[in-house]
């Protein structure tokens, strides 16, 4: 069985030690997904696996046969940026740009989690079905994605504009 990456089938690597991240970066040259710590602490390598966010450095590639992977390269359609990518540019949600693909993929997965009613550490009512992405909810849920340049305000503004104000 193949791994489907941005709509293209890819064979799983023969070396079972290869992480999903290294498969993307070193074998497929999809270097948009970044390696910041290789130990799940920074979130720079976040990709979407069947729509859920995963830190690809802690994921062995061979585990993802039959799965649908979306990386930053798979977000823009026919050359047009994803609305969240547009919003990141508009709100200056980055400086160096290294954590950016992870922030963007993470935010897309995060918005879907909120939509499904998954509670977070700051959710008051754990039994609620509707999560409102307040400033605190959003920041708590994005706290696994580090940005050392400190573009957090811009990132939050971009996510808010795309997923909260737009009512997605």
């Amino acid at each position: 069985m193949a791994i489907r990456i941005n709509g293209t089938d890819v064979q799983a690597p023969s070396d079972p030690r290869v992480s999903l991240l290294d498969l993307l970066r070193e074998e497929l040259h999809l270097t948009g997904t970044k390696k910041g710590c290789n130990q799940g602490a920074c979130g720079a390598c976040t990709v979407l696996v069947d729509g859920e966010r995963v830190v690809s450095c802690l994921a062995l590639a061979v585990q993802y046969e039959g799965c649908e992977i979306t990386t930053i390269e798979g977000l823009s359609k026919e050359g047009a940026l994803h609305p969240l990518q547009e919003a990141f540019v508009e709100h200056d949600g980055f400086q160096c740009g290294y954590c950016t693909p992870g922030q963007i993929c993470s935010a897309i997965g995060m918005a879907a989690e909120a939509k499904r009613g998954v509670p977070s550490h700051v959710t008051d009512d754990l039994s609620t079905d509707t999560i409102v992405l307040t400033h605190d909810e959003l920041r708590e849920r994005m706290s696994g994605n580090l940005c050392r340049c400190g573009a957090y305000n811009g990132i939050v503004a971009a996510i808010t504009e795309t997923f909260v104000e737009a009512g997605e």
Binding site: D22, T71, E73, D92, Q95, G97, S143, R148, G150
Partner: protein
């Protein structure tokens, strides 16, 4: 650093002080910056506009190519083994299992590494970029815990990492100095910064302090810090015959190229360093041993090498900010005027670098005082060479200075903003030079108003919200204007009316390429999309360090010089048939896609017209920036007022920064959007320094204990509130574009603003960073 090198630095320093005297006395018109950049008066252009980053679309799509992302055929992957003792020699080294492991092409140790010279250590030469000047895998000596002892090259990273785990090394350890207190007791020496002594006395500060009616005399301490750029250090390296190509993550491409040529004994022109995108630098991305080792291994195997340091590798192989212990004493009269400022103390350094964290720098120019005593003493440890990290000196120095000012305000029963205004100097208080531009009073006034400073209850511990204690604090931030020698730029104007700027500068996220595109467009009367800005390549003109917040000024002065050459050339080409005929270069400026007489814009000819009449496809010129004498004539600094509101949990000691405002006076702001990000980014790193950041150093064996982003805490989304920034936008008449650099000032003053707010909230004065929960329990 050797005694010889110290002597050399001191001699350079002495020569410099002679020049300095002459420049101080020189008439302003003779100096760079003596005549204001004409752009300062141009109010309707692109400068200052919140233009989105021109490389933004690339970055948000993951299409910007970083150092470890250059594809090459036959690429080998490196993995590095580190020493586990701080000092001694390698007793045995067994690499046989690693060599036999699948995919391994080379195991390099001191036994088979090519002969190389040490890296020229930063500041030993204008182009030196090395973090240390130790032998790089040349012998069995160990100088720090974490020193590379072996490097494996294999066909894949997995194979290299596995093979590295099979290397067996034993050591003959020798007694090492790894405890700060012991080292300090053995020996300290006065620190030299950029060749100049930091020790300075004006009047008898100790006597003035003793006699002062109000005084504070305390010790502040700050720990080691690591930059932790999210992109770990990496390089993709290949030898093409005798020529070395390094795709690096660098804030010093020209310096790195020259330094590598010294290491390998080849010509500077044989080393090509590129660095189009850098995933954060903050002072860390210079030349460390990994590029040297990668190039050496590439040489031995004849194949391209990618050396991408692990996060642990970044901590083991590249230095961070060192620790400081600062005595800060202020004596004040009853009206608040400072009688004495004493700022002295000790920092740890190594014998193989030259970076005594210069924490006294902010104290030199911040306040008027009758007497001063400043000194940074250095003690030597067996540890990885410490280095420059965002606002070296000012970041940690302002924590002591600005906390102490707050303590004086408390002792006087005076508002801390008012106390600062009382001590506002009319000229630089220690250098006795005029300020080029200083509007800190304005920054305080507007900042205080916007923040609602008057609502602060001055009585500590008096504002509560449930179990949270709420407080406000304020501190001054400051960072100097620098412009280093060696700036140069090439301008190429083509017949289609496009201008290309080429300069060996850097983009680490500061927004340089965007801001400089705006500036160039305004200089030449062009649209944004008619300007190309090429950078990040050592083969381009200029030697432009992305450090000391000087890049903006360095590029600015280089482009101004090139512009003069370009205009002169164009006037020559325009000839007698042009409306510009007979005009001198200083009478014309760029307007509406061409040149025009400044006071008679009707006399105008487009670039396209000039070039086409002259039958030229393009005109190219190179201009070199004049030596940076302006900093010797004027005291040039940026200023800011940092306002902070914290909430401290009275049960857990948890600190939450609920509001923050930075009000800056940094000259003219070139791009409101990217500048805001620079300010906020600095402030956020300052919040990290205040509340959580610490490189934990095991004093028993000199090993860094938390070499990971899981255990070295940096601010995350939830730690960071909405950060408000504002600026005076008052142009500095003596700086190119009227702008002073803004990359580092944001981190300064933040530690004190937070600490002062915590004091106001709780009545607890914490003088040891970071202010963790345990210190407030």
């Amino acid at each position: 650093m050797s005694i010889l090198e110290q002597a050399k630095q001191a001699a350079q320093g002495a020569a410099q002080s002679v020049i300095q005297k002459a420049v101080e006395l020189a008439p302003e018109s003779w100096l760079p910056g003596g005549k204001p950049d004409p752009l300062i008066h141009q109010k309707h252009g692109l400068i200052g506009k919140p233009v989105s980053r021109i490389d933004g679309p690339l970055k948000v799509q993951g299409k910007a190519t970083f150092a470890a992302e250059f594809p090459m055929d036959g690429l080998l992957y490196a993995s590095v083994a580190f020493s586990t003792v701080p000092k001694g020699r390698i007793a045995s080294l067994d690499t046989s299992a690693a060599e036999a492991a699948p995919g391994v092409v080379l195991v390099m140790t001191y036994r088979n590494a090519p002969r190389m010279k040490p890296m020229p250590v930063f500041m030993s030469n204008a182009k030196a970029a090395g973090g240390d000047n130790l032998p790089v895998m040349q012998d069995d000596r160990i100088h720090w815990n974490g020193q590379p002892v072996a490097l494996v090259l294999a066909e894949t990273q997995e194979q290299a990492d596995h093979a590295k785990s099979l290397i067996r090394v034993t050591y003959e350890a020798e007694p090492a100095t790894t405890r700060f207190v012991e080292a300090k007791a053995q020996n300290t020496q006065p620190g030299l910064f950029m060749g100049q002594p930091m020790k300075q006395e004006i009047g008898d500060a100790e006597a003035a302090l003793a006699a002062a009616p109000v005084k504070v005399d305390v010790t502040y301490t700050t720990p080691r810090h690591n930059h932790n750029a999210i992109e770990p250090h990496a390089a993709t390296i290949v030898w093409q015959g005798d020529e070395l190509l390094v795709h690096d993550a660098s804030q010093a491409v020209t310096h790195t190229a020259w330094s590598l040529s010294e290491v390998f004994g080849i010509e500077e022109s044989q080393v090509h360093v590129t660095s189009p995108y850098v995933g954060g630098g903050f002072g860390s991305k210079s030349l460390w041993q990994h590029q040297v080792l990668g190039a050496a291994a590439a040489k031995l195997t004849g194949r391209p090498v990618r050396i991408a340091l692990s996060r642990e590798g970044v901590y083991r192989m590249t230095g961070g900010r060192t620790l400081t212990e600062q005595r800060m004493a202020i004596g004040a009269a009853q009206d608040g005027r400072f009688e004495a400022i004493i700022h002295t103390g000790t920092v740890a350094m190594t014998h193989h670098n030259a970076m005594p964290e210069p924490f006294i720098l902010p104290t030199r120019s911040a306040y008027a005082a009758r007497t001063f005593k400043l000194d940074v003493e250095v003690t030597y440890l067996d540890m990885i060479a410490n280095t420059f990290m965002r606002a070296p000196g000012e970041s940690v120095g302002t924590f002591a200075l600005e906390s102490a000012v707050d303590e004086v305000a408390v002792a006087l029963g005076m508002d801390p903003v008012a106390l600062r205004m009382v001590n506002e100097p009319s000229e630089d208080p220690t250098e006795k030079k005029p300020f080029s531009s200083r509007n800190i009073v304005e920054a305080y006034r507007t900042g205080a108003e916007r923040f609602g400073w008057t609502k602060r209850n001055p009585v500590p511990g008096s504002v509560r919200d449930g179990e949270w204690q709420v407080g406000m604090g304020v501190a001054t931030s400051t960072y100097p204007y620098h412009r280093m020698p060696g700036g140069a730029a090439r301008l190429t104007l083509t017949r289609d009316g496009r201008m290309k700027v080429e300069i060996a500068a850097h983009e680490m996220g500061m927004g340089t390429s965007t801001a400089q595109t705006q500036v160039t467009a305004d200089r030449f009367g062009l649209q944004l999309d008619q300007v190309d800005f090429a950078y990040g390549d050592s083969f381009l003109p200029g030697q432009v360090l992305a450090g000391g917040s000087q890049q903006t000024a360095s590029i600015g002065a280089s482009v101004v010089a090139a512009q003069h050459a370009m205009v002169a050339e164009l006037l020559k080409l325009a000839g007698n048939d042009s409306p510009l005929a007979g005009l001198r270069a200083d009478e014309v400026g760029g307007m509406e896609g061409g040149l025009a007489k400044l006071d008679e814009p009707g006399r105008h000819e487009t670039y396209a017209s000039i070039l086409s009449r002259a039958q030229r496809d393009e005109v190219a010129v190179v201009g070199s920036a004049p030596p940076p004498l302006e900093t010797m004539h004027w005291s040039m600094h940026s200023w800011g007022a940092m306002f902070c509101e914290v909430r401290v949990n009275s049960v857990t000691g948890e600190v939450r920064v609920s509001r923050f405002l930075g009000s800056f006076d940094c000259g003219r702001i070139l791009n409101a959007k990217t500048a805001s990000s620079q300010f906020r980014g600095g402030i956020i790193m300052g919040l990290g320094m205040a509340l959580m950041e610490e490189t934990q150093f095991d004093e028993r064996n000199g090993r860094i204990m938390n070499p990971s982003l899981a255990e070295y805490h940096v601010p995350v989304h939830l730690d960071v509130p909405e950060i408000d920034v504002m600026w005076t936008d008052i142009a500095d008449p003596h700086a190119p574009m009227g702008a002073r650099g803004i990359g580092e000032i944001g981190i300064t003053g933040v530690g004190a603003a937070v600490a002062n707010a915590i004091y106001n909230a709780t009545g607890k004065r914490i003088r040891d960073l970071p202010i963790t929960l345990d210190k407030l329990m």
